[in-house]
């Protein structure tokens, strides 16, 4: 009697397993990895970072002191682009040209409107991600965001799924790998640096 009752549970488990599989496939761990939407202004990271050598923190000014990395205000852009206008004169053996993108920026500024950037990296609201903890621990921006300095149009590099987060929190961050991910050769100090692990109990990020 007892045995048969136990066996009767089995089809129920199968039904639950199938339902779970369908649900998981339908709505489960999705990710926007690789999505690179068109932005209102085609902002060229390569020019600013590689050609001009600007530091990430110049524009994303609170990434090392706040959970929020900070998006540059229109005023920050205009700090340079008041002078660097859309008309570029011929120099360095390159012909004169007009930048439509700088024109758009100046239009926003003239109209006193902020630029409605399309958000790419977004964590669910039940996750709290403090940027400054990661930046100050020496994690390179590119470890999570990819080689932004080479992206003509920014896309989501990592899956941003929890497993991906835990990969680092549990196994640790290797400074040399971080430098390689950023596209730089690790220094001997990086190679010698100990692997940094982080807390991974749920309540560290979920509250």
């Amino acid at each position: 009697m007892r045995l048969s009752r136990n066996w009767a549970i089995v089809p129920g488990f199968f039904a639950i397993a199938i339902a779970a599989a369908i649900l998981s496939a339908y709505s489960g761990a999705s990710s926007s990895q690789g999505v690179a939407p068109e932005q209102p202004i085609n902002f060229p990271h390569p020019v600013h970072v590689q050609t001009l050598g600007m530091n990430c923190l110049y524009c994303h000014y609170s990434a090392n002191k706040s959970p929020d990395p900070g998006m540059p205000a229109v005023g920050t852009c205009m700090g340079c682009h008041t002078i660097i206008g859309p008309q570029r004169p011929a120099r360095d053996s390159q012909p004169a040209r007009t930048s439509e993108e700088i024109k758009k920026l100046q239009d926003y500024s003239a109209k006193k409107q902020p630029i409605p950037w399309i958000r790419i990296h977004k964590l669910p609201e039940y996750v709290h991600f403090p940027h400054m903890r990661h930046v100050n621990a020496g994690v390179t921006c590119q470890t999570c965001h990819g080689k932004i300095q080479e992206m003509a149009r920014v896309g989501q590099f990592a899956s941003l799924n929890m497993g991906w987060c835990l990969n680092c929190h549990v196994n640790g961050y290797n400074a040399a790998d971080g430098m390689r991910a950023a596209g730089y050769e690790p220094t001997p100090a990086d190679t010698a640096a100990p692997i940094k692990k982080a807390r991974y109990d749920c309540g560290v990020c979920h509250y």
Binding site: S30, S32, V35, P37, Y61, S62, K65, S66, P67, D68, G70, M71, P72, A73, V74, G75, T76, K111, K112, Q113, P114, I115, P116, W117, I118, R119, K122, P124, E125, Y126, V127, H128, P130, M132, R133, N136, K197, A198, R199, D201, C202, G203, V204, H206, Y207
Partner: protein, 1034 residues
């Protein structure tokens, strides 16, 4: 309005700009869906940056502004936490001379006035009979014309303002004077004018002395509810809490009155004197001590309906006490005489200067304040048609005066009425023009909390709507008049203030602390004329079955709190009723009349009638019924509408001897109706049933080291904690119960390399200090995005069943609470001890109840999805995104502190959404807004722990002891709650873990809770000759 921005704040330039708060709204809410991307079903969100980066703020990091609370006249200092341009939390200013960092529930709720969804968006002008939106230009032009038209009859113009301290009252007077109008009337229905007037006469002009509770050995209160609505409640709570913290040496407290209020429940003894008999008692006490007075104690006892021996003992004790403190806050027609006699009694007992300190007055509770008697002549003039123009600001006399005074009818006869209210209320809806004022958190101002210090009020954020500061509107009108412009040589009220507070440099220097040395101009106006509208006959000579006691609601006050869902949802500390009016009847009386709890009873007086459900309360006399003020609004926004009854409908405008409304003036009769409704109560049981949730120890037992017996429960014999309040066992989510190798670890090993296991976040709650005021509850709502669930539209769907209003929804106020679906992570449990036979000798105990963060938590082992588990730093964590809503944990929890989100109160698209725009602007960005179907509970403010850890790491140091605290502990006006790391003895909290009074609730369950309760200390009367037992506490 550049004048309205504080220095540390930024703003966009120019008027065509998208206002910063508008695009922050998008940034914060992140819901702007534009197009779909690829083949996923995710919506595109926008990331809107600043136009110009503000100087002193970092996105995602809070800025703090010191300002002044204007929710009542006391004017406590507050610190507003502002995140990305929005105020998200108010906390007391630790340096303020009055509140020293504490803040009451009403002060916390100022934010819901700021973000009230019913606020006026624009000025309103009456057109074709209804108030319609208009522009500021039209509104001001209209008002200017009306003022010009009224100047011929200028002496009859009426300006009613809220009672407040600071420069603004004299500013209004100078403005009114410039136009030839009389000085304004400062009206406040909550102020005890009787006590103030008696003090003024007897203490050389001082209206509100401070009271030193700690210096007294015996405190006697004649109806003065000093922990809730009487006087400056927060400073008084701090002082009373400190007095009670002396434990065995703490003063005994006797409360005298027909109803035992929250303050009364904190007393050791209650003398249930009949309403109106207090004067006889005070006079007899005076006579007994040979200090004048008249009458005998026996006669007074006869009139009061108490045993003569009770008063004899009171008299003996008062004379025997080395120091005492007697307070009067009665609300009858003889309130002034009682207050005056009590002042005389204090003087004869030598308390003046010792426990009553007129030399240290509370300056904010001074100045000429008007009551009903001062409004009566105004009403008469309005009725006669003599008043051409009336202004009202911050006061709602149409609701806070008895209907019998006919304020609304008279007010309607004024040809042009102007309101400066920022929310619709009964008076404002009668007006012809509404010029919505800024909220106090959006505008400049000042207050005078104590002599020599001015409290500053500064805007902490850009205005939410297109409102304008009343002071600036008045200034603009005066400056537009060529003949008056020279009298007002400043463009804005800020400049006007700056000139009076020592110039721009001094103001800028003072703003960070929110205080500046100095004094504001006192109002030159004298008290307005008073015309007592027919005093009522003494209660004893009236006919009727019951004495009617109307009292000010501790949560809603005179009704001004009723449009704030936090205050509606906050259970009354005494009755535990929310979203409802009840008639309080003694259980024996109810038994005699066959009235059961919830039966609708009609209370009838000579002035009117109200019908409300009956609530059986031991703390009212058998010949008395009591009703709270505050409810019964007809036009105070969505949260106040159709909730309860207005108790003032039962009263005449009879004054209390100094102009204030006598709240206890009439006899009433009681009729049971056939209707009944469930009581909207958060209470399970008023009795402890031997469980020992709220334990107490008498002062004598404490000294002798004895403890109260409570029923022993079967089960495992309690084990001792490991050092640092850690649990020796863990029935954790790992499932290996009882296995030796898992006994000492939670989900993770205690020696986890992160080093966090060294911590054990824990809390101490000192029941000797706790008064049950419930400020912590509202602080918790504010900090943790807790939804309110009692509004009429938040009930469940009843389709396809029939509902009385045909909507198919359960639209009873508090419908969810009736089903036990309230969400208060922290609640105050109120228990009665004794009085089962209906006697007045019962004791009340309060126990704040929240997640106990058990070391060995029953909830953890039953969760099938590991959504709740024990973190290495001692927290019982609830992971919302793991939770599937089985509710097993709630079932398993012995403390019933887990709350299930039944209707998706945090989901904007749902009918039950608790934060309609712009209430959602207040949401704390550090805390997840929970959606449908998840379990939630107290987190020990884990976001504050993480913030402190993040800050410490950023500064390359450890978290310092007492570096931060949790929201409830921060707010507590009696300093009953301490939070800290029990495993680190440098924290103040850790020092209390071994206190002699410690206990853990349900210790016998071996849950190893992180909340340490310290027993309440009671002070039963000792015979004066009986020697105290010798020996120490331990």
């Amino acid at each position: 309005m550049p004048n309205d921005a504080t220095e540390p704040m930024s703003r966009t330039d120019g008027t065509t700009a998208v206002r910063r708060r508008e695009f922050l709204k998008v940034l914060g809410a992140s819901t702007a869906a534009a197009t779909a991307v690829g083949c996923t079903n995710e919506h595109v969100e926008q990331l809107i940056p600043y136009l110009t980066s503000p100087d002193n703020t970092v996105p995602g990091v809070s800025t703090y502004f010191a300002t002044t609370c204007r929710e009542c006249a006391t004017a406590c200092g507050v610190i507003a936490e502002v995140r990305d341009g929005r105020a998200i939390k108010l906390e007391g200013n630790p340096d303020h001379p009055l509140n020293h960092g504490a803040l009451c529930a009403r002060g916390q709720s100022a934010l819901q006035g700021l973000y009230n969804p019913d606020r006026f968006r624009t000025p309103m002008l009456r057109q074709n009979g209804s108030l319609t939106p208009t522009t500021w230009e039209t509104a001001i032009t209209t008002l200017t014309q009306r003022i010009a038209g009224a100047r011929a009859q200028g002496q009859n113009v009426v300006f009613i303002n809220q009672a407040e301290s600071g420069s603004f009252p004299s500013f209004i007077d100078s403005w009114l004077g410039a136009f030839g109008f009389p000085a304004h009337i400062a009206y406040d229905a909550e102020v005890d004018l009787a006590a103030r007037e008696a003090n003024r006469q007897q203490y050389g002009g001082v209206q509100a002395p401070t009271y030193d509770f700690a210096a007294a050995k015996l405190i006697v209160s004649f109806g003065a509810d000093f922990l809730e609505t009487w006087g400056a409640s927060v400073p008084q709570q701090l002082a009373f809490g400190d007095a009670r913290a002396a434990l065995a040496d703490a003063p005994r407290f006797i409360y005298i009155g027909p109803r035992r209020s929250l303050t009364g429940l904190n007393a050791d003894d209650w003398i249930p004197a009949r309403a109106g008999s207090e004067l006889g008692i005070v006079n007899a006490l005076l006579a007994a001590s040979g200090a004048g007075g008249s009458g005998t104690l026996a006669a007074a006892a006869q009139a009061a309906g108490v045993e003569p021996a009770v008063l004899e003992r009171l008299s003996t004790d008062l004379r025997a006490a080395t120091s005492s403190l007697v307070l009067a806050g009665t609300t009858g027609p003889d309130a002034f005489q009682v207050a005056a006699a009590v002042n005389t009694l204090n003087r004869s007992l030598g308390n003046e200067g010792k426990t009553v300190k007129p030399a240290e007055p509370i300056a904010s509770l001074a100045g000429p304040v008007a009551g009903v008697a001062h409004l009566a002549p105004v009403i008469a003039r309005m009725n006669s048609g003599a008043v051409p123009l009336a202004f009202v600001r911050g006061a709602n006399p149409a609701h806070t005066t008895p209907k019998q005074m006919q304020f609304a009818t008279a007010f309607a006869k004024v040809p042009f009425k102007v309101s400066f209210s920022s929310v619709p209320d009964e008076t404002t809806l009668l007006c012809d023009l509404v010029l919505p004022d800024h909220h106090s958190l959006e505008s400049w101002g000042d207050a005078q909390p104590v002599p020599g210090t001015v409290g500053l009020q500064q805007p902490v954020m850009e205005p939410v709507f297109t409102t304008r500061a009343t002071a600036d509107v008045l200034l603009g009108i005066a400056r537009a008049d060529a003949t008056l412009a020279s009298r007002f040589p400043v463009a804005t009220y800020r400049e006007w203030l700056t000139a009076r507070l020592g110039g721009p440099a001094a103001l800028t220097a003072a703003l960070p602390s929110g205080m500046i040395a100095g004094a504001v101009e006192a109002r030159t106006a004298t008290a307005p004329e008073s015309d007592a509208p027919g005093e009522t006959a003494p209660l004893a000579s009236q006919t009727g079955d019951f004495d009617l006691v109307v009292y000010l609601s501790p949560t809603l006050g005179d009704g001004r709190g009723a449009n704030k869902p936090w205050l509606q949802e906050l259970p009354d500390p005494v009755t535990k009723i929310c979203w409802q009016s009840v008639v309080e009847i003694h259980p024996l009386t109810a038994g005699r009349l066959r009235i059961k709890p919830g039966d609708h009873v009609t209370v009838t007086t000579s002035a009117g009638t109200v019908t409300a459900p009956a609530y059986l309360y031991l703390g009212v006399r058998q010949d008395t019924v009591a009703i709270a003020t505050g409810q019964g609004h007809t036009g105070y926004g969505r949260y106040a509408e159709r909730v309860g009854v207005n108790a003032l409908d039962l009263l005449t405008g009879s004054p209390n001897g100094s102009g204030g409304l006598a709240l206890t003036q009439l006899k009433a009769s009681l009729t049971k109706t056939t209707d009944r409704s469930m009581l909207v109560s958060t209470e399970g049981s008023a009795r402890q049933h031997g469980r020992g949730v709220a334990q107490a120890v008498t002062a004598a037992d404490l000294l002798a080291g004895r403890s109260e017996e409570h029923e022993a429960f079967p089960g495992d014999k309690p084990h001792e904690f490991l050092p640092g309040l850690k649990s020796p066992v863990a029935s954790d989510a790992i499932g290996d119960l009882g296995k030796n190798e898992h006994k000492e670890q939670g989900m993770y090993k205690p020696d986890h390399w992160s080093g966090m296991a060294k911590r054990r976040w824990a809390m101490t709650i000192d029941l000797a200090r706790c008064t049950g005021c419930s400020a912590c509850v509202t602080a918790c709502y504010a900090e943790n995005n807790i939804p309110t669930v009692g509004a009429r539209w938040q009930g469940r769907s009843l389709r396809p069943f029939h509902t009385s209003d045909g909507s198919g929804w359960d639209t009873r106020p508090g419908a969810n609470i009736l089903k036990g679906r309230e969400m208060a992570w922290l609640r105050i449990e109120r228990y009665f001890e004794g009085g089962e036979d209906g006697s007045s000798e019962f004791e009340a105990r309060f126990a704040p109840m929240l997640c106990q963060h058990c070391g060995n938590a029953p909830c953890e082992s039953v969760c099938p999805v590991f959504a709740t588990y024990h973190a290495p730093d001692g927290l019982n964590i609830q992971v919302y995104n793991r939770c599937v809503g089985t509710r097993y944990c709630s079932n398993a929890c012995p403390y019933k502190v887990r709350y299930f989100n039944w209707h998706g109160f945090g989901v904007p698209a749902r009918r039950q959404y608790a934060f309609p725009e712009p209430l959602n602007w207040q949401l704390n960005p550090d805390v997840t807004v929970r959606g449908l179907g998840v379990m939630e509970k107290c987190t020990f403010c884990v976001q504050r722990i993480r913030e402190a850890e993040n800050r410490a790491t950023l500064e390359k140091r450890e978290v310092a002891p007492d570096e931060f605290t949790v929201a409830c502990a921060q707010a507590c006006p009696s300093r009953a709650i301490l939070f800290g790391d029990a495993a680190d003895e440098r924290w103040t909290m850790a020092k209390t873990v071994q206190d002699a009074r410690r206990y853990h609730v349900f210790e016998e369950l071996n849950t190893y809770t992180a909340v340490v309760y310290l027993k309440k200390v009671t002070h039963p009367r000792e015979e004066p000759n009986a020697a105290r037992p010798a020996g120490g506490a331990e």
